[in-house]
């Protein structure tokens, strides 16, 4: 093992670059858009628009708000690969939450299996945040994921999937 722990130095630099809270605001907005979008329309447009907008909005905010105050840095290709993995994972999770209920049997099936749907949704939400926490080295996302998971259980979660007002 090396005397200089470069991995630790890189991780600290990465974490301090994300102390601005923009990532948290981005995920909060994403959840809000997904929830509002799924209750307002039948085709998940809210979620799709949110997915398309959150990335560019986050990049713009980083450039305008964070860079002049905390400085800017370009991380290694490995970090960029991890970021790409997270974006793909979130897109896959949104696609899965939209398609799987229809494959399994539509609204009737969802209504009759409320507990299973509730559990599945909670696990899916936690998995997304756990993936973010793991790949992006942002451990606080484990806590955020746990809270969102319990919120998905407590509030009739099939409303999300059924896209009806509740």
């Amino acid at each position: 093992m090396s005397t200089l722990d470069l991995g630790r130095i890189e991780r600290q630099a990465w974490q301090s670059y994300h102390e601005d809270g923009l990532m948290d605001i981005a995920f909060g907005s994403l959840l809000l858009f997904v929830y509002v979008g799924s209750t307002a329309d039948r085709l998940h447009w809210g979620a799709i628009v949110a997915l398309l907008l959150v990335g560019p909005a986050l990049a713009l905010a980083k450039r305008v708000v964070t860079a002049p105050r905390l400085g800017s840095v370009e991380f290694s290709a490995a970090r960029k690969g991890r970021k790409r993995r997270v974006v793909l994972f979130i897109a896959a999770a949104v696609a899965a939450s939209t398609l799987i209920p229809f494959v399994l049997g539509g609204e009737e099936w969802l209504r009759s299996h409320n507990t299973v749907v509730s559990f599945g949704l909670g696990v899916l939400v936690f998995t997304v945040f756990a993936a973010v926490a793991y790949w992006l080295d942002l451990r606080r996302m484990y806590g955020v994921g746990s809270e969102c998971c319990s919120a998905a259980h407590s509030r009739s979660p099939s409303c999300w999937v059924l896209r009806c007002r509740c």
Binding site: E10, A67, L70, G71, S72
Partner: protein, 117 residues
């Protein structure tokens, strides 16, 4: 009693260590730049905790040695200094790391009992 000549020859040679990198502030700058593609002056200032003048002087020395590439640009009306480690700097840093690792590995461990003696 003086140590035998063969014993003194076994001691690790410190003269090979790159003194330019060995200075703590410059070592931190080199370590940071070696793990990122590029960073600007403000980011390094925050990460190292150095003053502007101090960091600037260390960067000048590293640039003179050809270890760091400095690009000064403007973003709108704001000047921006972007830094990246040069290929020569990366090689020098890797050599320094391996020398330091070898040097520290060769030193005997000092335990509490040894100090008491």
């Amino acid at each position: 009693m003086f140590p035998a000549e063969s014993e003194s020859r076994d001691l690790p040679d410190l003269s090979d260590i790159d003194r330019l990198i060995h200075e703590p502030a410059r070592l931190l700058v080199m370590a940071l730049l070696s793990v990122v593609e590029s960073a600007d002056f403000l980011f390094l200032l925050r990460q190292t905790g150095l003053t502007q003048g101090n960091l600037s002087s260390h960067l000048s020395k590293l640039e003179e040695a050809g270890y760091v590439e400095i690009a000064k640009t403007f973003q709108g009306k704001r000047p921006r200094t972007t830094l990246r480690i040069s290929p020569a700097g990366r090689v020098a840093f890797e050599v320094y790391r391996s020398q330091l690792d070898r040097l520290l590995a060769e030193l005997p461990r000092v335990t509490g009992n040894d100090n008491a003696k």
